[in-house]
C-alpha cells in the first residue's frame, strides 16, 4: 500500500432513457493509504457513493418524475466536491458545495476511491486484450444480478484492467432497459501525487 501513488482522471458517462446524458469528471488520487476524490460537477456525496454501490451498476439514476425534472434542470456552476480519507484513520472528510465540510466513516468513501483499483483477480477468467492510454489491458466480464423493487435485473460489467488499475468499466443493461454506463480513465499518472494533493483543506 505504501507504494501506491497514482492520479487517475475518470470520465463517466451515463445514459438512461428519459434523462439527459450525464457526463461527469472525477479525479482520484492515491498516495499510500491516503486518497482524495474530486468531482468537477459538484455532485453530492450520496451520488458519488451511488456510483459504486447502486446495485445495477449505473449509479444514481432518475426514477420519479420529480427526479427526471431535476435531471433536466441544469444547475450552473454548482461548485466542486472533494472527499478525503486515509485508510489508517477512522473518519474522512466530505467537502460539498455550499456546505460546511463534514466527517464520514472512511469505510464509506474508500470504495469510491477504490473504483480505479482492480483488486484481486484470482479466479477471474481473462478475456481479450486492448490498449488504453498506451497500456496493455486485459478484459474481464462479469454480470450483476439481483432484484430491485420486485423486479429482477441483470447488468453486464466489462472491465479493462492494466496491472493494478481499472482503465475502463462499462455496464450494460441486459434486460433491454437501455441503460448504459461508461467510466473510462482519461489519464493515469503514477508517482505524481504529492502530500498536498491528498491533504484536506485547513
Amino acid at each position: 500500500m505504501t507504494g501506491l501513488n497514482v492520479r487517475v482522471r475518470l470520465l463517466r458517462t451515463r445514459i438512461a432513457p428519459g434523462a439527459p446524458v450525464l457526463t461527469t469528471r472525477l479525479t482520484i488520487w492515491w498516495r499510500g493509504t491516503r486518497f482524495r476524490i474530486h468531482d468537477e460537477s459538484g455532485r453530492a456525496y450520496a451520488d458519488l457513493a451511488a456510483d459504486v454501490s447502486e446495485p445495477r451498476g449505473f449509479g444514481r439514476t432518475p426514477r420519479t418524475m420529480e427526479e427526471f425534472m431535476d435531471a433536466a434542470t441544469a444547475v450552473p456552476d454548482r461548485g466542486r466536491t472533494d472527499l478525503y480519507g486515509d485508510l489508517d484513520e477512522p473518519v474522512g472528510l466530505v467537502d460539498e458545495p455550499r456546505a460546511r465540510p463534514w466527517e464520514v466513516p472512511v469505510a464509506r468513501i474508500a470504495p469510491i476511491a477504490a473504483q480505479v483499483l482492480a483488486g484481486d483477480l484470482d479466479g477471474q477468467v481473462p478475456g481479450g486484450r486492448e490498449t488504453v492510454l498506451g497500456r496493455e489491458c486485459v478484459e474481464y466480464l462479469g454480470v450483476l444480478e439481483g432484484n430491485e423493487g420486485g423486479r429482477a435485473f441483470r447488468s453486464e460489467v466489462r472491465r479493462l484492467v492494466s496491472g493494478p488499475y481499472v482503465l475502463l468499466r462499462e455496464v450494460v443493461d441486459l434486460d433491454g432497459g437501455l441503460l448504459r454506463l461508461r467510466a473510462e480513465a482519461a489519464s493515469l499518472d503514477e508517482g505524481a501525487v504529492t502530500a498536498s494533493d491528498v491533504d484536506p483543506p485547513g
Binding site: 453530492a44 466530505v94 470504495p111 477504490a114 472491465r159
Partner: protein
C-alpha cells in the same frame, strides 16, 4: 497471487464511527476489492453493506442529557422503563421530553425504521418548518414521518392542487397515489391537498412532453419498459393527463351560451380527446398502477396507438402551456416570465415546465411555513434549489438526509452506544 498495489489487510485499522471504536474487520477493503474484480459495482455495494453490518449493535439504552439511565430509575415510568431494555437508542434532552415521547405527543424525535439507517435516532427542531432533502432510494420521508410521529407535513410527490371533487383527474390522481398516502398513515385523512408539496400540472406537462419522442418514433419504446425507469412515472402521468382531458371534454360540453368562451386550445383538446376516445380510453384507464408504459405499449396490439397518443399529447400540451402562463398559484411576474419563454421545441418546453414547477414549488413551501406545517419532504435536489434560490422560508431549517445530517444522526447514535 496478491496484487502488489492492493491494500494489505494490515493497512486497515478499525473503522470507528461517531468518534468511538467498534468491531474491527481488517479485511473489508480486501474483500471489497476481491468482489469488485468479480462483479464490478455490486462489490462496492456489498462493501458498504459490510461496513454497515460492522457498526456496533445498538444497545438497549435511554439517555437523558447525554447520561445513560439505568432501570430501575425514579425518572422512568411504566412505559419508559422497558425502553431502557429494548432494542433501541433514545436520546432525550430532559425527562419532560422523554415523557412526552412516551405519551406520543412529540413530533421531532424518533428511531428510523430502516433499512437503511435502521434504528438511527433522529432529532429535528421542535418548532418551525423542517425541510428534509431525501434520496428516493435511501432514507425517504415516508420512513421519517411515521418514525417521529408527524402527520403535519407536505411531500413532494403529493399534489397541492385543488382538484375538483368528482372530477376525472381527482379520481385518477387518487388511484395512483392512495398507497403513498397510506404509507404516511393519512390514507383516510380529509383534505389530502394539505399534504401536497407540488402542483401536478407542471409534472403532467413535463411527462407528456417527455413522451413525444417515444410516440413519434424518435426514441425506442424499449426505453419505457421495465428495466428503464422512465416508463413508470410517465405511465402514471399519462393516466392523470388523460383524465384531465376528459374533464376538459365535459367542460366544453357543459358550457352555457352565457358563459365566457373557452380557449381554442381547450376546445381543440376536447375535440381530439373525443376523437381518440374509442382507441385510447379503455386502454389508458386500464393501465395498472406502478406499471411501465412500454410493457404494454411496445406490443403488436398497442403499437398502432402511437399516432393516437401523439395526437392527444400534441393537443394537451398547448392547454398546459397556457396554464403555465396563467397559473393562479404564481405572481404576475412569474406568469409573465413563463409566458415569455419559448415553447416551440421539446427542449424549450422541458425548460419551461421545469421552471413552472420550481416557481410554483417555492410558493407551496412558503405557504407551508405560513400554515405552521412542521415538515416538508422533497428530493435533495429540490432542497438545493430552494437554498440556491434563497427561497428557504424564514425560520425554516434544511436537513440533508442523503449526507451530512443523516451522517450526523448516525454518528450520534453510534457514539451513544459506546457510553457506559
Amino acid at each position: 497471487m496478491r496484487d502488489r498495489h492492493r491494500p494489505p489487510a494490515s493497512a486497515i485499522r478499525a473503522v470507528r464511527q461517531g468518534g468511538t471504536e467498534d468491531k474491527t474487520d481488517e479485511s473489508l477493503l480486501d474483500r471489497a476489492a476481491a468482489m469488485q474484480s468479480r462483479v464490478g459495482n455490486r462489490a462496492f455495494g456489498r462493501y458498504l453493506d459490510a461496513s454497515a453490518a460492522d457498526r456496533p449493535t445498538v444497545q438497549r439504552r435511554v439517555f437523558i442529557a447525554g447520561v445513560r439511565v439505568h432501570a430501575p430509575d425514579p425518572r422512568l415510568n411504566a412505559i419508559t422503563t422497558p425502553w431502557a431494555g429494548d432494542g433501541l437508542m433514545r436520546d432525550y434532552h430532559d425527562v419532560a421530553e422523554m415523557n412526552a415521547h412516551a405519551a406520543g405527543t412529540t413530533d421531532h424525535i424518533g428511531n428510523l425504521p430502516g433499512p437503511p439507517s435502521a434504528d438511527t435516532w433522529v432529532r429535528f427542531p421542535r418548532t418551525g418548518l423542517n425541510i428534509l432533502g431525501e434520496d428516493h432510494t435511501q432514507v425517504k420521508f415516508e420512513m421519517v414521518a411515521p418514525a417521529i410521529g408527524t402527520t403535519n407535513f407536505t411531500y413532494e410527490p403529493f399534489s397541492s392542487d385543488r382538484l375538483p371533487a368528482g372530477s376525472q383527474i381527482s379520481a385518477a390522481y387518487n388511484t395512483e397515489n392512495n398507497a403513498g398516502y397510506a404509507a404516511f398513515g393519512v390514507g383516510a385523512a380529509p383534505n389530502r391537498r394539505r399534504f401536497g408539496g407540488e402542483s401536478l400540472y407542471p409534472k403532467m406537462a413535463f411527462a407528456m412532453n417527455l413522451l413525444i419522442p417515444y410516440f413519434n418514433g424518435t426514441s425506442a419504446l424499449a426505453g419505457l419498459a421495465t428495466g428503464g425507469y422512465v416508463g413508470e412515472p410517465t405511465q402514471r402521468y399519462l393516466k392523470i393527463s388523460w383524465a384531465f382531458a376528459k374533464d376538459v371534454v365535459a367542460e366544453v360540453a357543459g358550457r352555457r351560451r352565457w358563459q365566457r368562451a373557452l380557449s381554442a386550445e381547450k376546445r381543440n383538446l376536447a375535440a381530439v380527446t373525443t376523437a381518440q376516445m374509442a382507441t385510447l380510453d379503455a386502454w389508458i384507464t386500464g393501465l395498472v398502477v406502478d406499471g411501465h408504459l412500454g410493457d404494454t405499449l411496445d406490443t403488436v396490439a398497442h403499437r398502432p396507438k402511437l399516432p393516437n397518443l401523439l395526437a392527444f399529447v400534441n393537443a394537451l400540451l398547448p392547454v398546459l402551456n397556457a396554464r403555465a402562463g396563467s397559473d393562479a398559484g404564481l405572481n404576475w411576474r412569474e406568469r409573465r416570465r413563463l409566458r415569455r419563454m419559448p415553447s416551440a421545441t421539446e427542449a424549450d418546453r422541458a425548460s419551461k415546465f421545469a421552471l413552472w414547477r420550481n416557481l410554483h414549488f417555492k410558493h407551496v413551501v412558503a405557504d407551508a411555513a405560513r400554515r405552521g406545517v412542521r415538515y416538508a419532504g422533497m428530493g435533495r435536489a429540490h432542497m438545493d434549489y430552494l437554498v440556491t434560490d434563497h427561497a428557504v422560508p424564514r425560520g425554516a431549517r434544511t436537513f440533508d438526509m442523503t449526507g451530512a445530517d443523516l451522517a450526523g444522526f448516525e454518528g450520534r447514535t453510534a457514539h451513544l452506544a459506546t457510553l457506559p
